[in-house]
C-alpha cells in the first residue's frame, strides 16, 4: 500500500531542497507549454478572424459575375460587358430550388456631398434583399422597399464610414445628400461590418435601389443590365447544387449552345472560407507541433535531472529500502517528483502562454483566442511528458540493490 499524500509532500520537499535546479528544469516545460498555448492561440485567433471576415460578407454566398468570358476570339464589347439582367436575377430566385434569396447589384463610384463635406465612395444599386443575402442589419432608420425599387426613388442607405466622414454628430437619417450631384434621402444607416478578407472597408459604401442606379446614377448603354448577382443558398450543403442550377438557368436564358463558354462567372465564397480555414488549420497544427518539440526537450531535461537526483540520493533510497520501502514506494516517490516538476511547470507555462497571447494580441491588433481545449491539451501533455520521462529514473531508483545503495558515498 502506497501512501500517496505523504509521498507528494515528500516530493515537494525534495524539489524545494534544490530550488534553483527545480526551477531551471521546470523552465523547459514552462517554455514548451507556454509556446504551445501561445501558438495555438495565435492560430485559433487567425482562423476566427478570417472566418469572421468571410462570413461578414454573408454566409452561403454565391457571386454571379457578368461578362467575364470571351468566346471564339470574339470580343464582348468594351471590357465589362454586362450580360446579366434583373430578369436573370428574378429567374434564379424563382427557378433554382436551392436558392434562398438573390440581390442583383450594379455598382460604381460616386462623389457624395453633404453640407460643406464631401466624400468619394462606392455606390451599389441593389434590392432590399441585399440585407438578407449579406447578413447585414441596420443600426438606425429603415430599409427601402419594393416600391422604392419599382419607382426608382432617390433614397439610400449609408455605411458607417460614410456617416463618420460626412455627418459627425448629426443623425444622418432623414438628411439629404447629393450623389454625383443628384439629391438622395437617407432612410437608414447600415450596421458597421469591418474589413472584408481582402482588406476593403465594407462600411465605406452607399446602397441605393438598383433601378435608381440604372436609370439615374450610372446610365448604362444596355438598360436593365447589371454586373453582379449575389445569391444566398439555403445552406452550405446546398451551395454546389445552387451553383449548378444557376449555371443551367443562365445558360438556357442566354441561349448558349453546348460548345459555348459561359458569358458569366459563378464564384462561391464558402469555398474560399473553407480553403482559408483549411490552410490556417494546417498552420496552427504546424505551430503547435513546433512548440511541442520544446515540450519534449523540456521532458528530456526532467529525465536528466531526475537521473542526477536518483544518483545523488542513492543513500537515501538505501535507507528507505532498509526500513521497508517497497519497489513501488520508491518508484512512485520519484515518479511523483517528476510529475510535480512537469505539472507545476505546466501551470506556470499556461499562465505564461496566456500572458504572451495577450501581449501578442495587443501588438497584432486582433483577438487571440486561448481555448480551454488548448489549456487542457497542454496540461495533459505536460503530465504525460512528466510520466514518460520520469518513469525511467524512477524505475532505476526502485531497482537499486539496498546494500549497494546504503554503501554509496
Amino acid at each position: 500500500m502506497v501512501n500517496i499524500p505523504s509521498t507528494i509532500r515528500l516530493s515537494f520537499r525534495a524539489l524545494r531542497v534544490n530550488k534553483m535546479r527545480s526551477m531551471l528544469t521546470m523552465l523547459g516545460i514552462i517554455i514548451g507549454v507556454g509556446a504551445v498555448i501561445a501558438m495555438l492561440a495565435v492560430g485559433t485567433g487567425a482562423r476566427r478572424r478570417i472566418a469572421d471576415q468571410i462570413s461578414s460578407m454573408g454566409s452561403n454566398l454565391i457571386m454571379v459575375l457578368s461578362g467575364a468570358s470571351t468566346s471564339g476570339g470574339r470580343r464582348l464589347g468594351a471590357g465589362t460587358q454586362p450580360t446579366l439582367s434583373l430578369t436573370d436575377s428574378e429567374a434564379i430566385l424563382k427557378e433554382a430550388t436551392s436558392v434562398q434569396d438573390v440581390a442583383p447589384s450594379l455598382s460604381g463610384v460616386g462623389q457624395i456631398v453633404f453640407g460643406n463635406q464631401n466624400w468619394s465612395t462606392g455606390v451599389t444599386g441593389t434590392t432590399p434583399s441585399i440585407l438578407d443575402v449579406r447578413d447585414w442589419r441596420l443600426s438606425s432608420g429603415r430599409t427601402f422597399n419594393a416600391d422604392d425599387v419599382k419607382g426608382a426613388n432617390k433614397v439610400c442607405l449609408v455605411g458607417q464610414t460614410v456617416v463618420d466622414n460626412l455627418f459627425g454628430d448629426i443623425d444622418p437619417v432623414g438628411q439629404i445628400i447629393r450623389i454625383n450631384k443628384i439629391p438622395f434621402a437617407i432612410v437608414g444607416v447600415l450596421e458597421a461590418k469591418g474589413q472584408s478578407p481582402n482588406g476593403q472597408d465594407q462600411d465605406d459604401t452607399i446602397i441605393v435601389p438598383v433601378t435608381t442606379a440604372q436609370k439615374k446614377l450610372f446610365g448604362t448603354a444596355f438598360p436593365g443590365m447589371i454586373r453582379l448577382i449575389m445569391v444566398k443558398a439555403g445552406s452550405i450543403e446546398d451551395l454546389a447544387r445552387a451553383e449548378r442550377e444557376i449555371t443551367d438557368i443562365l445558360r438556357q436564358r442566354h441561349r448558349l449552345g453546348p460548345g459555348q463558354d459561359n458569358d458569366f462567372t459563378v464564384r462561391n465564397l464558402t469555398q474560399m472560407l473553407q480553403a482559408t480555414e483549411q490552410s490556417t488549420k494546417v498552420m496552427t497544427l504546424l505551430l503547435g507541433a513546433i512548440a511541442s518539440v520544446s515540450l519534449v526537450v523540456g521532458g528530456i531535461g526532467i529525465m536528466n535531472i531526475m537521473l542526477v537526483s536518483v544518483t545523488e540520493r542513492t543513500r537515501e533510497i538505501g535507507i528507505r529500502m532498509a526500513v521497508g520501502a517497497k519497489t513501488w514506494d520508491i518508484r512512485l516517490q520519484f515518479l511523483i517528483e517528476a510529475l510535480l516538476l512537469s505539472l507545476i511547470g505546466g501551470v506556470i507555462g499556461i499562465l505564461a502562454g496566456i500572458t504572451v497571447s495577450k501581449v501578442l494580441s495587443s501588438i497584432a491588433g486582433w483577438s487571440i483566442i486561448v481555448s480551454a481545449s488548448s489549456i487542457l491539451l497542454s496540461f495533459g501533455f505536460s503530465g504525460m511528458v512528466g510520466i514518460f520521462f520520469g518513469y525511467y529514473p524512477a524505475y532505476k531508483a526502485s531497482l537499486l540493490d539496498p546494500i549497494d545503495a546504503l554503501r554509496y558515498e
Binding site: 501512501n3 505523504s6 537515501e316 538505501g318 532498509a322 517497497k326
Partner: protein
Amino acid sequence: MTLLEARNISKTYAFGEAEVRALCPTSLKIEAGEFIAIMGPSGSGKSTLMNILGCLDKPTAGEYLLGGVDVSSLSRDECAEIRNKRIGFVFQGFNLLPRTSALENVELPLLYDGISAVERKDKALAALRKVGLEGREQHHSNQMSGGQQQRVAIARALVNNAPIILADEPTGNLDTKTSAEIMDLFVKLNTESGITVILVTHEPDIAAYSRRVIRFLDGCIVSDEVTKISKDKQAGQRQAAHSFSTDP
C-alpha cells in the same frame, strides 16, 4: 523460542571467472531475547551474515528461517515487508535522512507500513522518549551530536515494535563515553523490552556488553560462546540450545 535459524547458508560472489566466497556454509540458531556480538576482522564475513540476517541480501545456498518462515525464497517486496515489521537496523554512519527532523526520521518505517499520520506521530514520539530524546523531535541531523543521531536511529529501529535489532558497528563513529551510553541503551532495550540485539563490532569493550560472542575469520565461524549468563531464569535452557557448525 528460536527466532532466527540459518541452515548451511553460504554466499559467493562471482567476479568474472573468479569466485569469491564471502561466507562459508554456516548454520546458526538465535533465540528470542538474546544479546549477541559478532566479531571478526574486516572481510571476515560478518557483514555478509548481517545482511542476510537482515533480509537485505540472500544466501547463495542454504535456508534462512525467520520466525519459522524461509526468507531466502521471498520476493523483493516481501523482504521489504519483513525488514519493515520485524527488523530494526542501526548503522555505523547512523544513516538518517538529511534535512529531515528526528521525528520524521523515526516515522519513516511507519510511513511504509501505511499507518495514519496521527498514529505515526504518536508512535514516533514514544520511541524518541524511550531513547531519551524528548524535546529534540524537531532537530535535524546536522543539529545533533553523533550520540543523539544514533539514538534517533535506534528510535527508528524500535518504532515499529520490531523484535530484532541488527546493529552494524553502532559505536564505530562515537567516542568512548557516548559509546557506553549507546550500549547501555541496547542493554536496557534487551533486558526491559526483550528485544533481540545482534551487533557487529571489532571492539572487545563493546562485545563485552553482549552475552554471546560469535567470532568470524575468512568467512567462517571460528567460535561461538556464551560469555555471560543472563539473570533470566531461562538462561540455562538457552545456553543448551546454542549450536553452531561450520563447514570448512
